[in-house]
């Protein structure tokens, strides 16, 4: 969610002024050499022809293929009857475009522009060295083409997918623009920023792989392609989780699945409440990245939240009432609209795992446009003790039904209590 906000900022918001420092001579020469191939990519609402989203792109072939980000053109993928695509060059001329290929997992796409002749920019990739100077290009709204100089600081660790860490101020609207090395090789494609000169790039190899797609693509194929890519991705990403018990962490006398996914980052917080009548310990694991599919839809995010509640002063009815009140906070099913997802369908029961008794509720909803993909939420609480209870909330978005079931099993299977 946090990540999506910054992606949207890059695409939709008015741009900021650029660098803190005056441009170097190299920046000037890079700008002169490559800016003619930089385009503004726009998604327009058909009936009003007004902008719905904007980003950047760069020309990679004589026949008009342009590389940009998937999230810039996602509306055209799913609602081709409502939106259309065009590009604008430095002189302000606009040209119609269509989607030719996409990689939703790595957030890169290739579009075909009709009738545009411009400077073809390099698309050969280069192995980067930490600390290497890079030059990011883009076309922020109404400011024209800009260049931002920065530093390559390695690959992002603990990410769902490959991302390059770029220390430089990528401005909003620059999504899809190229990033070149000083010797003119393509390092990557602008994709996101988290502010404070922390920005992210799609590695060059993913853009290169898309530049020569097998044939043209029709809009129907694009939705199926997106779905197929997401399905394949979640199958391969989740497969290691089911080959062995999930990694666990201690939470009081309980053990809970934690740090079991590469992108999961976990924190804990402990607090005493109501003059010491009860205390709780929270343990939260959030996936740092998610795959942007469309405005209300994402995939690949995983979230686990546990609360251990203890009390020695409340009687068992008061304690059960306290737990029931805390469970009422676990009602969020994530974002979504009725155009993209169904309602959640749920089943709940008392589940016995050896001597541990859990009340478990599993809710699953289907994606309407991504056939075969689902969002799942598992909520549980333990009640084998009248003075302590473990509450858990686990969510995974954009997974197959089989994986949703297996994830639920793995989470429930990973919960245990010492001495039980």
């Amino acid at each position: 969610m946090f990540r999506r906000i910054f992606l949207l900022l890059l695409v939709l918001c008015p741009p900021f002024a650029a660098a803190d420092e005056p441009a170097s001579p190299l920046s000037q020469s890079m700008f002169e050499k490559y800016s003619p191939g930089i385009l503004q990519v726009r998604v327009l609402e058909r009936r009003s022809s007004t902008k719905s989203s904007i980003g950047s792109g760069f020309l990679v072939s004589e026949d008009g293929r342009v590389v940009t980000n998937y999230h810039v053109i996602s509306k055209v993928v799913f609602d081709i009857d409502k939106y259309r695509l065009d590009v604008v060059d430095r002189e302000g001329n606009s040209y119609a475009a269509s989607v030719r290929g996409l990689d939703v997992v790595h957030d890169v796409a290739v579009i075909q522009v009709l009738g545009f002749k411009g400077t073809v920019l390099p698309s050969q990739c280069k192995e980067l060295a930490q600390g290497e100077h890079l030059f990011s290009f883009g076309n922020p709204h109404d400011l024209g083409t800009t260049v931002v100089e920065g530093i390559y600081n390695g690959n992002v660790e603990y990410s769902l997918f490959d991302r390059l860490h770029f220390t430089g101020s990528i401005n909003p609207g620059m999504s899809g623009g190229p990033v070149f090395t000083s010797d003119g090789r393509l390092a990557g494609v602008n994709v996101a920023t988290s502010g404070e000169q922390i920005s992210f790039l799609v590695p060059c190899k993913y853009a290169s792989a898309l530049i020569e797609p097998p044939g043209g693509q029709s809009p129907g194929d694009l939705v199926q392609m997106t779905t197929a890519q997401l399905t394949e991705y979640q199958d391969s990403a989740l497969k290691p989780l089911f080959q062995a018990p999930l990694r666990t962490s201690s939470l009081g006398e309980y053990s809970v699945p934690s740090h079991f996914f590469p992108s999961l980052k976990c924190w804990s917080k402990s607090e005493d409440i109501t003059q010491g009548k009860y205390s709780y310990l929270n343990h939260q694991c959030t996936g740092e990245h998610e795959i942007y599919v469309d405005e209300d839809v994402s995939a690949g995010s995983i979230y686990a939240y546990y609360t251990l509640v203890n009390s020695s002063q409340l009687n068992e009815f008061q304690f059960a009432d306290l737990v029931e009140g805390m469970l009422q906070r676990f009602t969020s099913g994530g974002d979504g609209s009725s155009d993209f997802v169904t309602n959640y369908r749920c089943t709940s029961d008392f589940v016995r795992r050896d001597k541990l008794m859990l009340r478990v509720q599993t809710c699953i909803r289907a994606h309407k446009r991504l056939a075969g993909l689902y969002d799942t939420v598992v909520v549980f609480d333990s009640f084998d003790s009248s003075q302590s209870s473990l509450l858990g909330y686990f969510a995974a978005m954009g997974v197959s039904f089989k994986n949703a079931e297996q994830l639920g099993r793995a989470i429930i299977g990973g919960v245990s209590r010492r001495g039980v």
Binding site: T274, Q275, K277, L314, N315, E316, F317, Q318, A320, D321, L322, E324, L327, Q328, F330, T331, S332, G333, G334, D335, G336, S337, S338, V341, T342, N343, Y344, R345, C346, T347, S348, D349, F350, V351, R352, R353, M357, L358, R359, V360, Q361, T362, C363, I364, R365, A366, K368, Y374, V377, V379, F380, D381, F383, F401, E405, G408, R409, I412, G413
Partner: protein
């Protein structure tokens, strides 16, 4: 012949000896037997001599008719035998042969004079409300956190006001319905049943799942009061039903008593169907009553549970096809 004038509950209002025929019965002051009943016509019934019978009666063209009691068969005219019973308006006439003997006198032991207990339905209702409120306060304070007095007092006041408002609303609704029933007891009976159902439906506002509304832990704090009240009230109902079944058919009473529960279930079911069609990203609240938590010793296995989870796929495919 003796004519007993009774109300619909069977209470005796007066006994009249009939020695001279014909005898007119009606609301008008010119009748031999004057009935204070707005559903009786000024001239309603005429009793004439008939050979071999105590008499014969004829409906003289009344608006509401004459009916056998408790069978409720309309009688334009009928033969009067000993213990014949008819209803005109809200009045029951019982005809008795004056030669029939009465039961023996009961010897009263000294110091055992008892005043006759009269039925006070409204007082019964008030007593049940006070009982309910007291039990509710007791269970609420023992089951909820006692963190600060202000919070609990505020919650109790809100709860009492909300419950009071709901009670009045139901009472108003059913006072219209019970006018059709024309039986005072059933007004209060329906009101008390409505209170029992309100306790069951209270958590409905939090629950989105039909099964979970009966297992929502919000019932817990009212559980003790609700069960005790319903047990007490059920006993009271049986007592009244047993008394009333002597004058009215038990099946008729049960049919009328079932109206409110059936209507309540229909309303709740329609609410459930409405909720199914509304799109929401919120999950149903996971909850269970405290008795379930306390009494559940054998949960289902993990495999059996995920067998249930697998069944969700078919339901989701149905949703996708809509």
């Amino acid at each position: 012949m003796i004519v007993e004038v009774r109300d619909l509950e069977g209470h005796l209002r007066e006994r009249r000896r009939v020695a001279v025929f014909p005898v007119s019965v009606g609301r008008g002051y010119s009748n031999d037997i004057i009935l204070d009943d707005p559903y009786v016509c000024p001239s309603h019934l005429r009793i004439e001599p008939r050979e071999g019978m105590l008499g014969g009666a004829v409906d003289v063209g009344s608006v509401n008719g004459v009916y056998s009691w408790p069978d409720e068969v309309k009688l334009p005219h009928f033969d009067i035998r000993s213990n014949s019973r008819v209803r005109i308006g809200d009045t029951v006439l019982v005809f008795i042969d004056e030669n029939e003997s009465v039961g023996p006198t009961i010897l009263r032991a000294r110091g055992t004079v008892r005043r006759e207990r009269r039925e006070h339905p409204f007082l019964t209702f008030l007593a049940s409300c006070l009982f309910l409120l007291t039990s509710g306060i007791f269970t609420f304070t023992t089951t909820h956190l006692t963190d600060d007095g202000g919070g609990i007092a505020h919650t109790l006041i809100v709860y009492t006001v909300v419950l009071g408002a709901m009670t009045l609303l139901w009472s108003a609704l059913w006072s219209v319905v019970t006018k059709l029933l024309r039986h005072r007891f059933f007004f209060w009976a329906h009101l008390n049943i409505a209170i029992c159902f309100m306790f069951a439906s209270y958590p409905l506002s939090f629950a989105q799942d039909w099964v979970q509304f009966v297992t929502n832990a919000s019932i817990t704090s009212m559980m003790f009061a609700g069960i005790a009240y319903c047990v007490w009230f059920t006993g009271l109902m049986f007592y009244h039903l047993r008394r009333l079944s002597r004058t009215r058919g038990t099946w008729t009473l049960l049919k009328r008593a079932a109206v409110l529960p059936v209507l309540t279930i229909a309303v709740l079911a329609s609410v459930r169907f409405y909720q199914q069609d509304t799109f929401s990203t919120e999950l149903p609240i996971i909850s269970e009553t405290q008795p379930q938590r306390l009494l559940t010793r054998n949960g289902t296995s993990v495999d059996a549970y995920f067998e249930k989870v697998r069944s969700l796929e078919a339901r989701l495919k149905e949703d996708l096809s809509k």
